[in-house]
Symmetry: C2
Subunit: 337 residues, 2 copies
Amino acid sequence: MTLTIRDVAKAAGVSTATVSNVLNKTGKVGRKTHRLVVSAVKRLGYVPDAHARHLASRDRHRTLGIIVSDIENPFFPEVIKGFELRAQQLGYDAILSDTNYDPRRTRRAAERMMEHKARGVAIMTSEISLRLIHELARRKIAVTFLDLAPTRAYMSNLRIDYASGVDQIVKHLYDLGHRRIAFVAGREGLKSNVARLEAYEDCMRRLGLELGPILPGDLRFEGGMSAGLAVAQMTPRPTAVIAINDLTAVGVIKGLMNAGCRVPQDVSVTGFDKTRLAEYSNPSITTVDIHRETLGRIAADALHELSDSATPNGKEYQIGAELILGESSGPAPVVEP
Amino acid sequence: MTLTIRDVAKAAGVSTATVSNVLNKTGKVGRKTHRLVVSAVKRLGYVPDAHARHLASRDRHRTLGIIVSDIENPFFPEVIKGFELRAQQLGYDAILSDTNYDPRRTRRAAERMMEHKARGVAIMTSEISLRLIHELARRKIAVTFLDLAPTRAYMSNLRIDYASGVDQIVKHLYDLGHRRIAFVAGREGLKSNVARLEAYEDCMRRLGLELGPILPGDLRFEGGMSAGLAVAQMTPRPTAVIAINDLTAVGVIKGLMNAGCRVPQDVSVTGFDKTRLAEYSNPSITTVDIHRETLGRIAADALHELSDSATPNGKEYQIGAELILGESSGPAPVVEP
DNA sequence: CGAAATTGCTTAACCGTTTAATCTCGCTGT
DNA sequence: ACAGCGAGATTAAACGGTTAAGCAATTTCG
């Protein structure tokens, strides 16, 4: 019924093996025959069956998977894009699963990767159980994690250089004359958030500055807004606020403005992650870009390397971060007498 | 080497057919044997090979594809989410391809769908050639389009109700007392943009209003900003601006503000699409939500229906739109003497 | 009680490719 | 003229499942 390699073989007057050799460019086919086959393929509009291919050749055709927690989170699409592009370049078929923060769907996602006989899986969510990780390891499926520790066999770790990002922000503010620098935190459970907070504390200490007030946040607009309101009423008031992410920063700005503070004239505000929000909010936000597309690309590279080498030792990769200047940060206000 | 159904069969002391029947819940297996098999599967940690499954049973295991032009465009992630979720519920495996507006990659995407023997493909990009569409049709692969016409066999169309969305915006502004309402356009080639412009003209006419100035835009921040500047300098100045999308609206607001206009006291501004931008920009934007997740869900449903029925007649589906009130629109300023 | 129907399981062919092993020639070199 | 050799093609056995057909044991029923 469906068009198979046999139909092509018949049409070209050769065997299926020859057609296969042409399709896979093994170079074992003579010029004349090659032309015959190619033209038959064209004429019939033949497209090989991916499943049959995968099944018959465990090595030539491979797939790489990526599991994200929430495709709606603007962090991920760029990562996915980088991942897919690189995977494609390396000759892999890429499949994506979204867990939606749901353990059941996370389990399904991992199963899907196994079912599809993925060579490697980039796990871009922290909500994954050890059981699943072990199951992947047992099948010798390469894995990359995001900001997690376990660099064991078949596992590499992608570390985002939050410290450097935070350093750049703090130094930027310091250079602008800010000394009282507040911090609006995110969720305590999240490694990435904790890392940023620690980097902040670290950097402040190194600069010999007193730790500014550390306010709670929720990674959302609302949390930022109440933090902004709180900051506006402090005495002495911090002259700068470092928010855990852009969305929080937008909230902080709104809160400050509602309380009558000008940004950045009275208070400077910075974000993190360089979302579109940072660029288009009003004022635009000074933030940190953590090369997400690069992250995706490196994940693919890492998986490729792991699954390719005979001795699959995990590595640690660093993803850089870069300060992006916006309108939300400016010189510290001159001290009142 | 890899764990196969034969290993499970051996471990459970039954035939592979029985294992298969248990796995597929055909109900042809006795209770005792069933338990035996299930426990063997658990014990060994067996996961069936998706490729072999697909190959062996062309009907039980099916996949649905979705092709988007740019996963970074915040419009798509939600659509994808709705699509994947529904596809999963209907028992399909969903695969995604991103074309990045590149015809070559669009071609690859379509080929991938054919290789994977997708039952249906939701095409969420307008950059697709007729050749490709015909190739899909020839293979009897169901297809859904976005705002395109050709409702033929194996093809359904998803129509976003832009008219209703625009109507709601115009009426909302009208009710607020606005009479001079400008429009900032997008790209001329895009159906969706044209539809919005036409709906605007239509609605203005029905309300007996003079068509406000129609300014060029580029779907981007910059275009919006220069439009905003332009509007600020007009006499008489429009009291409201309808932007083709949220990003443009943000630009318009920035432009207006830079020119000394207050939003919404002097000029009201509205967007379209309800992106995060609308919610978090300052002021937040009055916009139109076009239920994207629903769009994805309906796409999956449509494909399911097409590929399932014996007479695959294309249908037309409507996706609703809903006005979302923000801070960027308010009562028209009182007319100066 | 024996034939017929039902239940539960196995056997083996098949899905559409790839690929190792094998075969067929036309050439080379002696 | 002939053994030896490649290049180029074919044959057939996988790959890991599904499923129609067949068979054995048990149940149903006249």
